[in-house]
Symmetry: C3
Subunit: 207 residues, 3 copies
């Protein structure tokens, strides 16, 4: 039988909490993209969520350093905390490009990629909720496959969007701006996939 002490349980709780912060940030990104008229204000709110993520990461690392026996590899707990923080940072960075580069009109593909980031972050919540049942859960593997599928689909969307960008007749300076925005959106989906892959490794090791 597999049983957890309250202390070990703490990590699973923290991971669910971080996943919820990432999901909140991803929803704010979705809204951000639809409301570029208020991008500066909306970015400030997103920055607050980013700081919330920083504090949660710090909490996990502190817990890690005072816990002698961890529910799975220390190193993996450390990597999950770091990778979750990367997702949230990248969401903020993607949004900040619109302010920095003074982009006031969104594209269809950016909206699609934003929705995919939110979809991926939602799956990550379930991953984290199921993690404590990793020995028996039937959902984990499905969710991991789904996050990988979203990333591959996102790759296709952004490659097509970038291709269209270079084929279009818009000004070069706009091409550069959008090239950068798509890169950040794609990197965010990659970071979601990284989490899925780390969790896959943890599940395999503890099977």
């Amino acid at each position: 039988m597999f049983s957890l002490t309250p202390k070990e349980d703490k990590f699973f709780e923290f991971f669910v909490e971080t996943a919820n912060i990432a999901y909140k940030a991803s929803n704010m990104l979705v809204e951000f993209l639809k409301d570029l008229d208020n991008s500066e204000e909306n970015l400030k709110k997103l920055k607050e969520v980013e700081h919330e993520g920083d504090r949660k990461q710090h909490q996990i690392l502190e817990q890690l350093n005072k816990t002698f026996i961890t529910p799975f590899d220390r190193e993996d707990i450390y990597i999950i905390a770091k990778d979750m923080d990367d997702i949230i940072d990248l969401i903020e960075s993607a949004a900040s490009r619109f302010v920095m580069l003074n982009v006031s009109k969104v594209t269809k593909e950016a909206i699609i990629l934003g929705d995919m980031i939110a979809a991926s972050c939602k799956e990550i919540i379930t991953l984290m909720e199921e993690l404590k049942n990793m020995k028996t859960s039937k959902y984990l593997n499905k969710k991991i496959i789904e996050i990988n599928r979203i990333e591959e689909e996102g790759d296709r969307v952004s490659r097509r969007a970038i291709g269209d960008l270079f084929r279009s007749n818009i000004e070069v300076i706009e091409v550069i701006k959008w090239r950068e925005i798509y890169q950040y959106l794609e990197d965010t989906l990659d970071a979601c996939e990284d989490i899925a892959n780390v969790i896959e490794g943890v599940v395999m090791k503890n099977a």
Copy 2:
């Protein structure tokens, strides 16, 4: 004396197999660059090899998770599998830029960098073949130095190519496209060097 059980031997076999997949991909890149008229079709074939690499990486990780005693640090086996996968992914990404950015003419420098990637991947095969003899092999160190040399030379080639690009009178949009292509080619050589450095560490630890 140093002796391996069949199970441990498996990892060395897998690494040689992944190195062969990377080398195959690098040769396809070399051909790809010489046949941009058929870039879409050629890219599809390269994507298949990328998936072959994915499956091999998965096989290594599964083997890792069911093997209790590994021939060297688990973490290093994990990193080698991941870094080999990165090389193959980057080769595909480099090729995909030509399709995505609608680039139909190659440059001399891209050809040179493609050849260097293939040369580096060839050295990696020998690295992997010699890895099981790491305590006695005289080749390993030479090969590691050679891969590092290729990366440094590649850095010079791509810096010069990018410099020429910005000094030329070609359209800005073309400068952007080629800046991106050179970056991917350079990143691929960096990924080859990463593998050489990880192997160097493994050899040092087990000397």
Copy 3:
């Protein structure tokens, strides 16, 4: 009581030495930015310091592989050596952009970012000097916070600089060049923050 054998002490010495090399490189970058007329020659000198850093990293890894008991986690020693090397490499890469992209006039913001890199590298020296007293040092935490503060401030400076760049009327080709230079300067400050975060983890674990 906490006491170190001469061998263990060696790592702390090496880290101080690498930090001094990084600080030297950062000061050369500061000078480099003020003397772009001699950028090719100055870059050569910076490359020599980069090689000095490579040799020091190699020395640390060799020491690591012949030391059975390390003063703290082997993995962290490895990461610190690697991250310090990244800082020095990025400083050289940032400078090399000016030569590669044929940029002969500096901006106010590049100067500011250069100064911030030097300030951050100076703090890293103190971090490394205090590391051997990690159980009692009162400075470590302050220095870590300061390096994080510099990185956040640098992020604001570079985001503003890039924003201004895209809003200005300079030629697009110049926008591309400067976008790339600012990226390297920002990445260097990020690499300094990475070191601070790794040290923070080491201190927490050994508290």
